[in-house]
Subunit: 174 residues, 2 copies
């Protein structure tokens, strides 16, 4: 079993979600939203974001991290703010010795909903369905769980491909 | 005496410079450039940037940090990259319990060169002159020393203003 943390960084709210992966099966572990609006300065926001993410990682000990690649259609000003939060989120993973994988938004939606152009509500519903959650997850937590699911599927796909390759070479990996 | 660290963050190269401040006098302590181009992935770059800055802060124990506010005329893509490095640089300061002050580029140039529209070479020469350096500092290190000098001047100005106010109220602070 391996644990994957997905992170959806933002300068006001950062979502996180941890899932477990056993073979090709994924299960919900935990998720949440780190709210940063109440801190008056940006350095304080980043400091609290880092501290909270380090606490989550320390508590659950995931082995891998996944994060969304950012859509570049924003203004330079909002890209800078988002970049600051995203840098700190990636740092929390790397300082915890987790490999970080990045996935484009379209790929995440494709993996979770089945179409790259899905909207946020569709992502929330599919995350709820796939992880058998009792209610609709909060939007940022759903995005974080979605990137974790995308990573799990990608990894499972790689294992399957590797397995089939090996089986063609004599099934010595079984 | 207090030590101030100035940081000029970038996703390829980050400059840092530490100066000491005694009264209104500033002296050079150290400076350098953290080069990140050789790390193939962005998470690795950020991880090394953070580790290096934490080493510098741990070695010299500055009490305050200063960083340039970023010019927003860039593309969203480069703003995002710069934001990631900037977020990590600010985090190294806040995690070390240093207050972080931000200064606009024009204000830094005004403080160091005397005119807000000064170019990089003028900043390098004035930093060399003001800190009595034996040679021209590297460009990113010069920018970092310039923001530290700007912070020192601003703080010295505040102290002078506070002192004169107190003196009007009875000189009890002398």
């Amino acid at each position: 079993m391996s644990l994957i943390i997905g992170i959806d960084p933002g300068s006001r709210k950062t979502g996180f979600g941890i899932i477990s992966q056993v073979g090709s099966r994924q299960e919900y572990v935990t998720s949440g939203v780190i709210r940063l609006e109440s801190f008056p300065t940006f350095p304080e926001r980043l400091d609290n974001l880092y501290t909270c993410l380090m606490e989550v990682i320390g508590q659950w000990s995931p082995q891998e991290a996944a994060i969304e690649q950012v859509f570049m259609g924003r203004s330079a000003s909002s890209a800078l703010k988002l970049g600051q939060a995203r840098g700190v989120a990636m740092l929390a993973a790397t300082q915890s010795k987790l490999p970080v994988s990045e996935y484009a938004a379209r790929k995440i939606k494709q993996a979770v909903v089945g179409k790259g152009g899905a909207d946020k509500v569709q992502v929330q519903h599919m995350v709820q369905f796939l992880l058998k959650l009792p209610g609709l997850p909060q939007e940022d937590a759903a995005d974080a769980l979605a990137v974790a699911l995308c990573h799990a599927n990608t990894q499972a796909g790689l294992i399957r491909v590797a397995g089939s390759r090996h089986s063609r070479r004599g099934r010595w990996l079984e």
